[in-house]
């Protein structure tokens, strides 16, 4: 991969980060609204959406980003030691699952991860982290494969945190345009505000190495909405 006739060229980690944050990447993110459709269906007023975004950036996104950072660290620390890699990634997955009480949210995350794993195995087939995610029974959580991809692509921990926070906010904003159409520039501003609200946490999140230290910020209302939504049949988004 990345080897053209007679010369080897590597894409910049910044390019790869842009690609991972790009909704045009065929990983299936378009079926998710970042919990927005469940929230609006449950009666959350549209005027609450900017606060909802900032709330996510300070709760579920931190769990997601912390998990991805620790998964990235686990891959880099294990090097070529496949036993250590398997054990370390399983610990991260377990820590994430313990912080994700909603079965629906766990299932949605693992379904999303499958799209990334398909993408990763084509581009980084030889990478031990990618191979490990592919062979994990039951699949891995989305932040695990994102952490593995960051390790494979050379994306640093702070960049990974921003990627996770941005991607979550942008999922909500993009879904907003389908659910409650409005001037597309407005939700883009909400995304930037949500990302800005997470900036003070970026350095401490990026420094995480232990699964125990992953943030555990819950969002009980979103969890309940997600469970209600998973049982409805007429919906645009899976979650």
């Amino acid at each position: 991969m990345f080897t053209a006739a007679g010369r080897s060229a590597q894409p910049s980690p910044a390019t790869l980060a842009m690609m991972l944050a790009d909704a045009r990447l065929p990983v299936g993110g378009h079926v998710h609204s970042g919990g927005l459709e469940p929230a609006l269906r449950a009666g959350m007023p549209v005027s609450d959406v900017p606060e909802y975004l900032i709330g996510r950036a300070g709760t579920t996104s931190l769990v997601e980003a912390g998990t991805a950072v620790v998964a990235r660290h686990a891959v880099l620390a294990a090097g070529s030691d496949s036993w250590q890699l398997r054990s370390a990634l399983a610990d991260v997955e377990r820590a994430w699952a313990a912080r994700t009480p909603s079965r629906t949210m766990r299932e949605v995350s693992r379904a999303l991860a499958r799209g990334y794993v398909r993408f990763a195995r084509t581009l980084w087939a030889q990478h031990p982290g990618v191979a490990e995610c592919e062979s994990t029974p039951g699949g891995v959580a989305r932040p695990i494969i994102l952490g593995v991809l960051a390790a494979a692509a050379g994306i640093d921990a702070a960049g990974l945190v921003r990627l996770v926070v941005y991607d979550d906010a942008q999922s909500v904003a993009a879904a907003m345009l389908k659910l409650e159409p409005l001037d597309p520039a407005i939700p883009a501003g909400w995304v930037l505000a949500a990302c800005a609200s997470a900036e003070p946490s970026i350095d401490s999140l990026a420094a995480l190495t232990s699964p125990d230290a992953i943030p555990a910020s819950g969002a009980p209302q979103s969890e309940e909405w997600a469970e209600v939504h998973s049982r409805t049949t007429q919906r645009l988004f899976r979650a």
Binding site: G35, A39, M44, D48, E51, Y52, I54, G55, R56, G58, T59, R94, A95, A97, A98, R99, T100, P101, S102, R103, R106, P211, D212, P215, A216, S217, G218, A219, P220, Q221, S222, E223, E224, W225, E227, V228, R231
Partner: protein
């Protein structure tokens, strides 16, 4: 507590909370927890340690709820550490913790379960007394089963800063936490029942007003499902 030939050994130590034995047999005990004075005031630090020996069943009953009083934002803490040995069971019938406007409470719950151990915990958090929006609370929960994390959560809530998706404009979090086993309580909407990846589950409802009735019924069923205890 630990099991003994005729009656379980209970080692009760009083502090801000005074434990009082109600009854006990070889391996079961029922203990009431009574506040020793006005709780919680700003700066108070209440710590409760509970150890349940192998094969024992301990039932704790809060006598009366707790109010965290207005304290101009001075923090108070309420931390509980529970250790349950192999095959032990803890039931804790918690009463509401009311976080008054101006209170800043840090609530920590740590439960460490050995193989075959189980815990059933009722908890109600209320933001504000009547006609209040309530203070701030950080609710930290860390639980392990055989050394592996089972359920870990940190909720930060503030009565004057409702965050949609966290608890929104709700003031009451009512919950039944089951660790080491799963008990789906009857009469609860599926969306209020969360099954963990490991052996455990959480039933939780959010509300604007304190109506414990729905979970009271579920809690009674949960207690009835634990065979070692006779109904009071």
């Amino acid at each position: 507590m630990s099991a003994a030939d005729h009656r379980a050994r209970l080692d009760l130590r009083a502090g801000a909370i005074v434990p009082r034995e109600i009854e006990r047999t070889e391996a079961t005990a029922r203990v009431a927890l009574v506040a020793g004075g006005a709780l919680l005031l700003g700066g108070d630090e209440v710590h409760i340690d509970v150890t349940v020996g192998a094969g024992c069943t301990l039932e704790l009953q809060d006598i009366g709820g707790t109010v965290a009083y207005a304290a101009d934002g001075v923090r108070s803490s309420w931390s509980v550490d529970v250790t349950i040995d192999v095959g032990g069971t803890l039931l804790w019938s918690g009463m509401p913790l009311v976080v008054a406007t101006g209170a800043a409470v840090e609530r920590s719950l740590r439960v460490d379960l050995a193989a075959g151990a189980r815990a059933f915990l009722r908890e109600t958090i209320v933001l504000g007394r009547s006609f209040e929006r309530g203070g701030t609370a950080r609710l930290r929960t860390d639980t392990w089963l055989e050394g592996e994390p089972l359920f870990v959560e940190e909720l930060s809530v503030a009565g004057d800063r409702p965050v949609p998706g966290v608890i929104g404009h709700n003031r009451v979090l009512d919950s039944i936490l089951v660790l080491g086993t799963r008990v789906p309580p009857p009469g609860i909407a599926p969306a209020n029942h969360f099954e963990f990846e490991g052996a455990g589950c959480l039933t939780r409802t959010l509300g604007r007003e304190l109506h414990r009735e729905s979970l009271d019924v579920a809690w009674a069923q949960v207690i009835a499902s634990v065979p070692q205890l006779d109904p009071v």
